[in-house]
Amino acid sequence: MSKPKKVFTKGNEAIAMAAINAGCRYYFGYPITPQNEIPEYMAEHLPAVGGEFLQAESEIASINMLIGAAATGARVMTSSSGPGISLMQEGFSYFAGNELPAVVVNMSRQGPGLGGINATQGDYFQSVKGGGHGDYKLIVLAPHTGQELYDLTIKAFELSEKYRILTLVLGDAILGQIKEPIVPWIPEKTAGDPDRDWLITGAQGRAPRLIKSLFLADGEMEQHNWHLQEKYERIERDDVMVEEVDAEDADLIVVAFGSVARIVKSAVTQAREAGMKVGLVRPITLFPFPRKRLFELGDRTKNFLVAEMNTGQMVEDVKLSLPGDCRVEFYGRPGGSVPTPEDLSSIISETCEKLQI
């Protein structure tokens, strides 16, 4: 067997490449730093595969074009960064109500407001708690390497179709801009099932179909919400993804996601070399959050440190997941300046000292 071919590419391009290889043929988007390589790649490569790139007049238009395209059953995607993702929140809520599948990428940048263009994890709450109106969830995937950006983009299309749900790939400026080798691959399935009974294709030889989120009859909206909640429960049961490094025997478990988790990996190795029993839990799905696994680990290990490039967001979900007798420390900074492995090693040592591990 020939050796898989590596390509040296930026994270943003890895996402765009993965989307096209996953069968995405329609992309609607609006420029914003630090994710412009995604629309640029799509604009260059989609025509060659019979697809179409369309630059929208705003992110509000992008997400609504995505609604119209997703309703046909086509694999469709848009991407943006914080300010643009904020504008899309209305559309996210409609995606949830309409139960349509699509993929959105947020290569997040510092906020609030116009903020800055450097990396941050300040959009965690917006991603997992829902920035739009109503009682809904997205699937949120948090890659931490170029290869994982590629792999999880493909996974995002699969999950979105499996559950008829909007799936968000949450990266940041570092992951989008970093250039590294990846191995592209093509999934077996590059399109959703054409026989799905809700696809809007024109009512030829069948009863007309309707995609809607308005339910005015008595009790109808409550019923729809219970149906959505049942779906979110299935997602939590079946599709949690989490990576663990030396977590089983650790006296201190660091919990981190995305680019910070990658830095923590180096810090954990350094800590182990220095004789400290430290491990890492990296949630790959931020929703569904690996709360069950954290609870199990918290049964044995009582000391946790959450590291984030924000001032404390995921730490709330970690605390809610763990048994009440666990101690949860937090290290965070609001993005822009990235902690080094040495910074995190010092924090780990200080935490061990403080908690008398």
């Binding site: 369309l54 509000i60 238009a61 119209g68 395209a69 046909t72 024109g202 009512a203 308005l214």
Partner: protein, 250 residues
């Protein structure tokens, strides 16, 4: 015996929920007749907007997607880009299209997206209970302009047809009314033309239909019909402002 009048095949048999004297029922029928004329029912996708017309899926026997408020043109663009051999139309009121959805309609028009937009202008927000719309006439009272629309505070009623006709993208931009049998006949012809443009791939077609809202105007159906002639048409003149004969070749 020859049947001379029947319900269009593109309509369901559900009775309209619209208020007495409201023009939505007439406009719905004219759209359905146009779809029937070109045998488009089975290949048409309607995009419902927010307002009284959101329930168009109850009345049209076609596939329908419900758009967020104001976003119907963008939703239609997304659908049409994937299914470019299908017919895609939106049906939007003046609050939806001319206030919250202004950006979406202008850019869909400017791109020349091959979709059809039916814009029903009754100069008021109907479903939410009679608030001022961007099309509310000067001096017109509404629940949010209780002393009448004042241009110093609220600006002037917006003329969407004139605005869109200034763009290069659209193939057809026209304003019609359905307040008299003669106007209904003209509107029928223009709405048919609009769908013909799409069938022929000529790009964005837009028909503004002046419409009554007797309930929120506080008028009888007859008085509301008269108001179209006396107050609306003088400010929103009828006619086709733009019509392309050929597909643009750049």
């Amino acid at each position: 015996m020859k049947q001379v009048f029947k319900r269009p095949e593109s309509m369901t048999s559900k009775p309209f929920h619209f208020c007495p004297g409201c023009h939505h029922g007439i406009v719905h029928r004219l759209v359905a007749e146009a779809l029937d004329h070109f045998s488009l029912r089975e290949k048409t996708i309607g995009v419902a907007s927010v307002g009284c017309s959101v329930f168009l899926y109850d009345y049209f026997a076609v596939d329908v997607i419900e758009a967020p408020h104001g976003r119907a043109a963008a939703v239609a663009t997304g659908t049409k880009r994937v299914l470019n051999d299908k017919i895609v139309f939106t049906y939007q009121g003046d609050g939806d299209l001319a206030a919250i959805g202004t950006a979406e309609v202008i850019h869909a028009a400017n791109r020349g997206d091959n979709i059809t937009i039916i814009f029903v202008n009754n100069s008021i927000y109907g479903m939410t209970g009679g608030q001022m719309a961007p099309t509310t006439l000067l001096g017109q009272r509404s629940t949010t302009s209780p002393y009448g629309r004042d241009y110093l505070r609220d600006g002037y009623p917006i003329k969407m047809t004139e605005m869109l006709a200034a763009l290069e993208g659209p193939s057809l931009v026209s304003r019609v009314a359905v307040n008299t049998p003669a106007n209904v006949k003209k509107a029928r012809k223009v709405i048919r033309q609009a769908f013909q443009m799409q069938v022929e791939g000529k790009g964005f077609s837009f028909v503004e239909v002046l419409s009554t809202c007797p309930t929120n105007w506080g008028m009888t159906p007859q008085a509301a019909n008269n108001r179209i002639a006396e107050e609306m048409i003088p400010y929103f003149p009828l006619g086709t402002l733009k019509q392309k004969d050929v597909v643009d070749v750049l």
